[in-house]
């Protein structure tokens, strides 16, 4: 049930939060150069972008965002600008990597191709219904173990591939404050499917997905007032990932986590100044998770768009009164669905 993914079916979407993209693109050149790249410039960034030449690359700026989404209340600034890239892409698959993340090396010192690994993850089946203790059974040198039901060995399409980060791990502000010098040096050589019904934080730093199958569920729902450009200040990807996992589970698809790694530099700043905002985020997650763990999407919803449309109503109903952030998220989800349909984002 593995699929063949052609280079022409992939867009690489990069959110430009800082003007100089050249070092990033040069580092990724061996792995990006075959693909079409969409760069979305943070609408709050004034300076011109510096882009290394020699890529098949299209830049979208504030004016493009306004032309398409002017009447929408969705906030496409900061890390959320990448979602505009998902909206305008016409490819089946999208790979998105943060600007501060570079190719990682494996334990033997070899520079790894995160793009190829994401493509492999998406091309091979996921196995969400039963946990394989040797992790990805489709990887060379591995298989399903004794006791794994044969009827489940075909797997299901993988629609989301969540990669990881060496060096600066994706910690929240509180954890980074407590452990400012901790670096992730552990290379875990595994890809695995996150089981159906299990929720996880799908960091947007290093991610790939099947845009046609799941695209609408990767959405800019949560944007805090005064949110900055640092990852620990945002939860847009976490919210998006929870929606995406629920939708994927409902539609019978799979989500993988593990390889590939990227080497994340971070920006060296300390989160101490942001800690006063953390209590809001802490509470938000604690309030949201029980909702996502118990939400049931109806059988009528047979596409990601349908699922998100239903989910937004349930967010409004169950969480809207808990916090204005959730009420805004529900509105953003509705608008996202409308935008997705109106720009024809479902087309290839």
């Amino acid at each position: 049930m593995s699929v063949q993914i052609e280079d022409s079916e992939v867009d690489i979407v990069i959110a430009a939060l800082h003007p100089n993209l050249t070092p990033f693109l040069e580092a990724w050149r061996p792995f990006f150069s075959r693909f079409h790249i969409i760069v979305v410039k943070d609408p709050e960034l004034d300076s011109d972008l510096q882009i290394a030449p020699g890529f098949d690359l299209k830049i979208y700026t504030k004016s493009d965002i306004e032309a398409v989404a002017k009447s929408s209340s969705i906030n496409f600034s900061g890390h959320s600008c990448r979602y505009f890239g998902y909206l305008v892409s016409r490819k089946k698959y999208v790979i998105s990597i943060d600007q501060d993340s570079l190719p990682a090396k494996d334990p033997s010192g070899l520079v790894t191709d995160a793009v190829a690994q994401h493509i492999t993850n998406l091309a091979t089946p996921a196995t969400p219904f039963f946990f394989n203790t040797l992790y990805d059974p489709f990887r060379s040198g591995a298989d399903f173990v004794r006791g794994y039901p044969f009827s489940m060995r075909c797997g299901v399409p993988c629609v989301l591939s969540c990669g990881l980060w060496l060096n600066v791990a994706d910690y929240d502000a509180l954890t980074q404050s407590v452990k400012p010098n901790e670096r992730n040096t552990r290379y875990v050589d595994a890809v695995m499917t996150v089981p159906v019904g299990a929720m996880m934080p799908a960091s947007g730093i290093n991610i790939a997905f099947d845009r046609l199958a799941l695209g609408p569920a990767l959405l800019p729902g949560v944007h805090f007032t005064g949110e900055g450009k640092r990852r620990w200040e945002t939860l847009e990807d976490i919210w998006s990932g929870l929606c995406a996992k629920v939708v994927s589970d409902h539609l019978g698809f799979g989500v993988k986590t593990g390889l590939p790694y990227v080497h994340r530099e971070g920006d060296g700043t300390k989160p101490h100044g942001s800690l006063n905002k953390e209590s809001e985020k802490v509470k938000l997650l604690d309030d949201a998770l029980p909702f996502f763990q118990s939400v049931k999407i109806s059988r009528n919803a047979t596409s990601a768009v349908d699922c998100v449309a239903e989910l937004s109503g349930m967010v409004r109903e169950k969480l809207g009164a808990v916090s204005p952030v959730f009420a805004s998220a529900a509105n953003a989800m509705d608008e996202w669905v409308n935008l997705w349909k109106s720009v024809g984002a479902q087309a290839e």
Binding site: T133, F144, V145, R146, L164, Y171, T175, A198, S203, L285
Partner: protein, 360 residues
């Protein structure tokens, strides 16, 4: 930064080993096992003498001992199958059990260092589990790792760990069909992670390299009816694993998988395995949905109550598949009876085993 020292737990942990051949493999494990008490369950011909290397403190039980200690209840313990190891769990007086097969040796990590599998299992059991939300950096309590952004703070305390499921380098634990299709495949990939299996997710629990908290989950670790006189084999640990996971999920206990690795040296005969597994391959297609759907009632607040409820459900829902399941359900009840009997008296089953009882 100092690395915390893992307690040895030498007076709190028993190592349970089923064997029919010999225990030469213990020589390699000596540096790691010698300070622990061993419970050896001798399968097969009770007249055969099992040679235990010098210097180990152990108690050994053969079939005659099992029959003598349990009387009619001995019918629940498998004969001529390593499933008999669960007798060792029953008679142990310790809080923790580590069970290992006699063809499993010390593995090396990627740096070439010998892996102290027992120490890693102890770490796994003493550290909380996190089944309610998946941490993408795996075990958050491991040195050098933590919970990632987006992980709810209310869940960061974790819950108690009941089971630590280790893995195997070299000969992987494949079923017979896979063994036959890939006879030369060897597991050479060292995945440097321990992780909690999410709540609600079942997994295939292999008994080759397994540790558990006997006080938390022991009565659910029944390895079923396998081997001589039974229509199925090589599903003992699988059966225990499905029961254990359902009960752990219900009682709020965690199950971990991943490190440590051992080196599995011997590939069993795939033709023999196919005969043993044959019915299981078909039956598991119905068994898995059964375990996925079963809901334990709220008043099942102990492992025994959960297990007895499961046995009723097995009889009702799986009994129609084959009379074996009715027999198995009855054996599950017998097991709990025997467990409670052995573990309530305080004197237990410790018996003078004559020449077979070794001392350090």
């Amino acid at each position: 930064m100092s690395v915390p020292i893992t307690p040895a737990l030498k007076d709190e942990l028993d190592i349970v080993i089923p064997t029919i051949r010999n225990l030469d493999f213990l020589e390699m494990w000596r540096p790691f096992f010698q300070q622990y008490h061993l419970i050896i369950v001798q399968d097969g011909d009770p007249t055969k003498t099992i040679n235990v290397p010098e210097g180990f403190d152990y108690e050994l039980y053969n079939r005659n001992d099992i029959n003598r200690i349990l009387g009619p209840k001995a019918s629940c313990i498998s004969f001529k199958d390593s499933a008999c190891r669960c007798f060792g769990y029953m008679v142990s007086k310790k809080k923790y059990i580590y069970t290992i097969d006699d063809d499993c040796f010390v593995a090396k990590d990627p740096t070439g260092k010998d892996i102290n599998a027992l120490e890693q299992h102890i770490k796994n059991l003493l550290c909380p589990s996190t089944p309610n939300f998946f941490n993408t950096l795996y075990d958050p309590y491991r040195e050098g790792a933590d919970f990632v952004r987006g992980y709810p703070f209310s869940m960061r305390e974790g819950i108690k760990t009941a089971v630590s499921h280790g893995l195997w380098l070299n000969i992987p634990d494949y079923d017979a069909p896979t063994q036959m299709v890939k006879p030369r495949e060897r597991n050479s990939r060292y995945v440097d992670a321990v992780m909690t299996i999410p709540k609600g997710t079942l997994f295939p629990m292999c008994g080759m390299n397994l540790a558990f908290d006997r006080e938390l989950i022991g009565p659910a670790m029944y390895f079923g009816l396998m081997g001589d006189g039974q229509p199925i084999g090589r599903y003992d640990d699988m059966w225990a694993g499905w029961c254990v996971k359902v009960i752990c999920d219900h009682l709020g206990l965690g199950v971990k998988t991943g490190l440590p690795y051992i080196w599995h040296s011997k590939a069993s005969n795939p033709f023999v395995n196919l005969r043993k597994e044959y019915k299981g391959i078909f039956w598991q297609e119905e068994i898995i949905p059964f375990f996925q759907a079963v809901v334990l009632p709220k008043d099942c607040t102990t492992v025994q109550k959960c297990y007895l409820y499961l046995s009723e459900q097995v009889k009702e829902k799986l009994g129609p598949i084959d009379p074996y399941f009715t027999k198995l359900a009855d054996a599950m009840v017998t097991w709990i009876d025997a467990w409670d009997q052995i573990n309530s008296t305080g004197t237990g089953a410790k018996l003078p085993n004559g020449a077979a009882n070794g001392k350090a």
